[in-house]
Subunit: 94 residues, 2 copies
DNA sequence: TTGATATGCAAGCAGTTACTTGCCTATAGT
DNA sequence: ACTATAGGCAAGTAACTGCTTGCATATCAA
């Protein structure tokens, strides 16, 4: 089980979340193409697969397997634990 | 300049933010005592000083030096960049 | 079945991180 | 001036992280 904070401590993983938040439900190969073409990241498929594993372990990505493809979906719910830990006191609070 | 995500990827640093959000403006030695007594963390002063340096470099802590003491204040503003990057789509959005 | 596609597992390597140890600077009190 | 207090700098080390390479598994199409 990976911590949400650690999962977010990597620009590649953050970009993956960016991409999934734009187009959800992509496969590993689609994500590889996205990162290579649109972000100039020349990583191997395995490297990206490991990143997806970290994101999934942190609950930020949920997957669904159909046939030989695995679809990845962005789950923003764990992000609430971050700002929820240090609730920024509103100035309207007397 | 340290990334906010990296600064948060450490439980000790997160606890420091917890402590400062409860009692702001503590010195290095006060923070050391807090971590040791209330959290059972037996770290050296230098280790905690380095953590404070990371937090300050990320903008999460601002400091003010008076005499031989340095006071540390929690600045939650950089946290807005985290949830701001992946705005959780509200369900009221059609 | 044969071959191509989509993904998984695991070992190894280089760079980074957290922590310690040792020494140094600066301020305050006597 | 001397001592204690509060903090800073830097090198070294053990553990971890991101990435690659190589091989294996599973699904689909012919």
């Amino acid at each position: 089980m990976v911590d949400v904070f650690r999962a977010l401590d990597d620009e590649t993983r953050r970009i993956v979340l960016d991409e999934l938040s734009v187009r959800d439900g992509q496969t590993l190969f689609e994500i590889c193409s996205m990162l290579a073409i649109r972000h100039g990241l020349s990583l191997t498929r395995q490297a990206i697969s490991q990143h997806l594993g970290v994101l999934e372990s942190a609950g930020l990505v949920v997957t669904e397997r159909r046939g030989r493809s695995k679809f990845h979906y962005f789950n923003p719910e764990p992000l609430s634990g971050i700002t929820g830990r240090w609730p920024s006191r509103k100035r309207t609070e007397k």
